[in-house]
Structures are given as C-alpha cells and as structure tokens.
C-alpha cells in the first residue's frame, strides 16, 4: 500500500530532483506489479518501514513499536486518505474550472488553486443599510421579484442576460470589470448594470449614471468604462466626474439638470430597494442567465453560464 504513496511522493519529488528518480521508478515498478497481480519484489515497503521504525526507535521506542506493529494498517489508512484527498482534489479542480473556486459555486474556504482567495473576494456593506436580513449566503441570491427594468440596460434582444451589480469604488468590482467588458464584446449578451455604492458614499455616481441613461441609453457603458478606469480616490470629486462626463461626449450641465428634472434620486432609491430583494451581500455579484456569481471570477466562469 505504501508503494502507492511512495510513487506519488517520489514521483513528484523526482520532477525536481534526480536523486529521487530511482525511488520513484522502484515505487512505480512495485505498483505496476501489484496492479498486474504479481508480487512486489523491490522491498521498498520493507525499507520504508524499517527506516521509519529505526529512526523512531532511537527516541520514542513505544511509538516505534506502535508504528512497526500497525505499519500495514497505517499504510492502508494513509493510502485511503490519499485516494480520498485525490478524489477531492479532482473535484476541487473541476469546481475551480467551472466556478473559479475549488469549493463550488460561491462557496468560501481554502482553495489550493486560488490560495489567496482572490476569486472569492467581495466588498461587503460598510453600513447596515440595504443589508438583507438573511445575508450573507449565496443560496439566497435571486432575481425573482426584482424589477430590472429600472436599471441601465443594454438590450440587444440576445438570448443571454448578464446583470452586473457592483460599485465604482470597490476594488473587487474593478477587478471583475475587465471580464465583463469582454462579455460585452459578444453579440449574444444583454447587459444590465446596477450600481450598488457600498464603499465610499458614492450615491451621486448612481444619479449621474441614471441621468445619462435617461438622456442616452447607449452612453452608460462608456461612462462605466471611464469610471472603472478612474482613480477611485477621485470618484468623490464632482469636478472630475463632470469633466469625465464631458469627455464621454455628454453635456455635464444637461446631466445635472436631468438629475433634478427627472427626479433621478427617486430612481436611484427605487433601484436600491430592488437590489435588496436580490439577497446581495457584497460586490461584485453577477447574474448570468439567473445564476449568481459572487466575486471576481475568471472569464471562463461567466461564459460557461451563457447559453
């Protein structure tokens, strides 16, 4: 049994060190012989057992005795543990490919392929406002009963719907946005953007976004691109924002006037109420055809959910 473990351990080590290659070869020979119902002749298991017991015998004779007596059993246990963890590793790899997280869609926990958890990070609410009572939990994320019609929408009449909930000042929304931009280059995606300003008190940006959308339905994406590129520290500076509005080809005075005349604040407030219904607990949260994806994920995770 121990030969299977030895094969993996020495096999891995031998990639980097020639010293371990003969042992890896020996372990492979042993495993191959056992798989073909022949006796392992290398004595590798005996050597490992003796060396381990011998080392322990010097300092912990009782422990050495336990190891020696139960070596086969321990080997079996470790091999089973190894096989189980190998299966879990496979599942983890599969999950990572599909969801960008070893633990499954929007689950938390350590992931060997993403040790820093960068695919899972979200900006959470700084204040209690708009925090759903049943949050945080990905299982409550939903678009049911959420009126998406009041949000800036780029409707191509395509078969896929991508709803991107984020905030301009949030670092993980900014991290996710380039993937969303790539999605927007596709012809088969309708896009809804919901600004959820949980960081930095940037409610005014929601008003500007909504005002621009009322004036020109196509321009809000251009504004998004510009705002996500802007230094987050400048997002509060109204002069800078108005200059940016000018730069994207909009009349800043017209936008400011629209905010007042169209009572955009009411729209923004209504949007916040709708967003609470989603069970949102952090940004970015992306719904691709109704499936929630929380945190900045690799592009493949989004496209996999497209029809």
């Amino acid at each position: 049994m121990i030969c299977i473990l030895a094969l993996v351990v020495f096999g891995t080590l031998s990639i980097f060190s020639a010293r371990h290659r003969p042992l890896a070869k020996e372990a492979f020979d042993c495993v191959f012989r056992k798989l073909t119902l022949r006796k392992c002749e290398s004595g590798l298991d005996l050597r490992l057992k003796s060396q381990l017991t011998g080392k322990l015998l010097r300092r912990h004779p009782r422990f050495a005795k336990i190891i020696y007596k139960n070596f086969e059993l321990l080997s079996l246990a470790f091999t089973l543990l190894f096989l189980i963890s190998f299966v879990y590793m496979g599942i983890g790899g599969y999950n990572y490919y599909l969801y960008g997280d070893c633990n499954g869609p929007n689950e938390s926990g350590f992931c060997i392929f993403d040790p820093l958890g960068s695919n899972e990070k979200t900006s959470s609410l700084e204040t209690g406002e708009a925090c759903p009572s049943n949050s945080p939990s990905p299982k409550y994320l939903t678009l049911a009963n959420v009126n998406l019609d009041i949000f800036p929408t780029y409707d191509r009449g395509a078969e896929n719907d991508v709803i991107f909930i984020g905030c301009y000042a949030c670092p993980y929304t900014r991290e996710a946005y380039p993937q969303i931009q790539k999605l927007l280059l596709r012809d088969d995606v309708n896009f809804v953007f919901a600004h959820f300003p949980i960081k930095g008190k940037n409610d005014h940006l929601s008003d500007i976004l909504n005002a621009i959308y009322l004036i020109d339905k196509q321009k809000f994406i251009t504004l998004n691109d510009a705002l996500f590129e802007l230094d987050p520290l400048l997002l509060k500076d109204e002069d800078v924002i108005m200059q940016l509005v000018e730069e994207i080809g909009m009349d800043s005075e017209l936008v400011q006037a629209s905010i007042i005349t169209n009572n955009v604040s009411a729209i923004t407030a209504a949007q916040a109420i709708e967003l609470q219904k989603t069970g949102l607990y952090g940004t970015p949260t992306v719904f691709v055809n109704g499936n929630a994806v929380v945190g900045p994920k690799p592009y493949r995770v989004y496209t996999r959910l497209l029809k």
Binding site: G43, L46, R47, K49, S50, Q51, T53, G54, K55, L57, R58, P61, A64, K65, Y68, K69
Partner: protein, 394 residues
C-alpha cells in the same frame, strides 16, 4: 593492544558509526591510504618494464610487497601471485589446473559463491562437483569428508566461513586429502584477516585471500601456490609481462608468478595491501583473534539468551571467530539491518552473504551478520546489543 590508538588510525570511525561489516569490506587505516597515495604522488609508473627512475622504484616496491606478503603467510615470494581478489584466485586455479572430464572437485556446503560457481561451471566440461554436508551445528563433517574424498582431484574449501565464522579443521582436511592424492585449495578470504596463517605448516597447495577484507584496498588479492604446482599450471590470462619473448606464432612464457600476472598491475593496490599486512603484523594476529573472540563472547552472552534470537552456527563464540550471524523471530534480516542503521548507526550485513546455496537448502531468506574486527570496542558491542534487544521487542 590499544584500541584507542588503533581507532585513531581509522579516520572514518570519527563519523560516529559502528562498523560491524568487516567480513564484507574492512576499514582502511590511514597508513594504507597514505602508502597508496605515495605511489600516485611520488612514483606513479609501471613495474617490471620501464628502467627509468620511477619504473625502478615501483619494481622495487612491488618486489618488497610480494616478499612482505610471502613472509606474512610464511612462504616464498615466487609463490605469491597478485590477483584482483580471492574470487579471481579461485577462478585462476579452476581454469589453469588442467582438470579433465571425470575429475572430481569437493567443496563444503558453506562455500561462498566464488568457491561454488567456478566448479559448477566446470561440470559442463564433465568435471564432477561434490558437496560435503556439514554437521547439524554447521561444523565440518570430517567423517562425511573421508567418505567422499576417494578419487578427488581437488578439495576447494573455505577456511573460515563468512556465513557464521566457523573455521574448518583444515590441517586434518589437508592431511586426509593429500593421503588420498587430492590437492587442496583454501579460501582464506575470511581467515587471513583474522588469524595467523602459515602455509608451510598447513601444507595447503593453493590459498586465496582478498586485500579488501584485511585492511587493504579493494581490487587486490593474492593467490598462494606451491612453486612446483604453479610451474605446472597454465596461465589463465595472457598478455604483457607473462612472456619472456614472443613471435607472431609462438611465445616463451615466464615462470611463476609473472606468467599469471598479465597486463599492467594494480601497483597502488599491491603497495596498499603490503602496508595493510605490515599493519596487521605489527599489532599481532593472535592479539587480533583474541580481541574479536572476546567481543563475540560479549555478544553471544547477551544476545543468545533472548528467545527471539536464533543464531547461525555453533553456540560457542570461540568457534565463530568474529562473526555473529543471527535472525530475529518474524523479522526480515534486511529490515533488522536497516533498523540498526537508522536507530544506532550500526552497519551490519544482511541477506544471504553470497552463500545462497546454504540458505536455499534450508529455506531461509538470509541472516543478519555482525562481523567484528580489531577496531571494534566493547562499548560498540553494548550499543549493538541494546539496539538488537530493542528491535527484538518490536
């Protein structure tokens, strides 16, 4: 015999290891290594050929070495042939003696493969190879030997077995063999390092030994042969230095020992071998033998009463020279050897010790063999005993 002084001559012992595998290869004192280095540093030339300064120096050293070895074995220099090891010496006799179909060769049942396979191989040419079975306690069965000796051309027999350290009564064996017209070849690979050997007294016809087991370097050994017999032997390997003169169609061979030493020799090895023999002689073979037996007595007294230990060979330590060959119940010999190494840095040999035939006949996998030599101490034996006891209780 001052063990501490002796141990200082073996730099490798400063590594804090307990070396109990001298029957395989002994350690080398610095005097031997220095003598060999001297050859390489100061006169690294060939002997018996070139007449320049270096050549003359090497020739002189080799002649002196041969004389030294001859003195060590109480024989004459022209009866000492340098070989690679004891194995080559046995093969030389086997292939040079002129054995004919129907000739009988007797060996014991405890022969090293080196003194078994050459005779097995000759059976293809019609040579008869017979084995004398030992007594129950692994000592030599003289009665059985006497029954089988008739019609024997050669008795090729181990002097001290590397399996269990038991020495055969070679004086009696030689007398019986000679009385029956048989020649005797002694495999002294395990006895030459540990006891005084007097070829004149023993009256053996041939004797082989290895340098690497008697403090000398590896790759050098010696074959002793009675001069009149060596003259009759045909050279086994032919080449440089074996002839006085040669034409395209014929050659005039040298006498012994030159006719058996074809090609350039291992001069550094020969010089080192000679130095090793000098070292042993200076200490005294009797003292060495006594020291080993005392240590073996210590091992035997402490370990033989353990239920889990089974000894190979007779119980009396004086009958087993410096070898303690044993098994621990339900434990593989290799397993025990590895645990000794890992737990207490004790180096022993495990397995069949190249005497597969003996183990196979008894359906045994092998044994653990601790072999003692002049540099081993009582303290080392105590550590070994404690380690074996600990393993036995696992």
């Amino acid at each position: 015999m001052n063990i501490e002084t002796i141990r200082n001559d073996f730099p490798v012992l400063k590594k804090d290891v307990i070396y109990l595998d001298s029957s395989c290869v002994s350690l080398k004192p610095k005097q031997v290594v220095e003598a060999m280095n001297k050859y390489y540093y100061e006169f690294p030339a060939c002997a018996g050929r070139s007449i320049h300064g270096f050549g003359s120096k090497v020739s002189g050293e080799i002649t002196a070495a041969r004389k030294n070895l001859a003195n060590f074995f109480s024989t004459k220099p022209n009866e000492i042939i340098f070989t690679r090891n004891a194995t080559e010496g046995i093969n030389l006799v086997a292939n040079s003696l002129g054995l004919k179909s129907g000739d009988k060769v007797l060996t014991s049942d405890k022969e090293h493969n080196s003194n078994l396979l050459p005779w097995q191989n000759l059976t293809k040419e019609g040579i008869l190879h017979q084995v004398v079975l030992s007594n129950q306690d692994n000592t030599f069965n003289l009665a059985e030997f006497e029954k089988q000796i008739e019609g024997t051309r050669l008795v090729s027999i181990v002097h001290t077995s590397n399996l269990d350290g038991v020495s055969f009564p070679v004086e009696k064996i030689i007398k019986i063999a000679h009385r029956n017209g048989a020649l005797v070849l002694l495999d002294c690979a395990q006895s030459a390092p540990h006891k005084e050997l007097n070829m004149r007294k023993l009256d053996a016809d041939f004797m082989v030994c290895s340098g690497h087991k008697m403090l000398g370097p590896s790759g050098i050994g010696a074959l002793y042969g009675k001069a009149k017999l060596l003259d009759q032997l045909q050279p086994f390997l032919l080449g440089g230095s074996t002839v006085r003169d040669a034409t395209y169609t014929s050659a005039e061979f040298e006498g012994a020992p030159a006719k058996f030493e074809a090609g350039l020799q291992n001069y550094a090895g020969i010089i080192g071998f000679s130095e090793a023999v000098t070292y042993l002689r200076n200490i005294g073979m009797k003292k060495i033998q006594h020291h080993e037996q005392e240590l073996n007595k210590q091992l035997t007294d402490e370990l033989l009463n353990l239920e889990a230990i089974s000894l190979i060979g007779p119980a009396g330590p004086s009958q087993r020279a410096g070898i303690f060959s044993f098994n621990i119940k339900d434990k593989d010999p290799h397993e025990v050897a590895l645990m000794l190494d890992q737990s207490a840095k004790i180096m022993v040999r495990s397995g069949a010790h190249c005497v597969h035939s003996w183990f196979n006949a008894r359906n045994l996998k092998g044994s653990v063999r601790a072999s003692l030599y002049l540099y081993n101490t009582e303290e080392e034996c105590t550590t070994f005993i404690d380690a074996v006891k600990a393993i036995a209780t696992l």
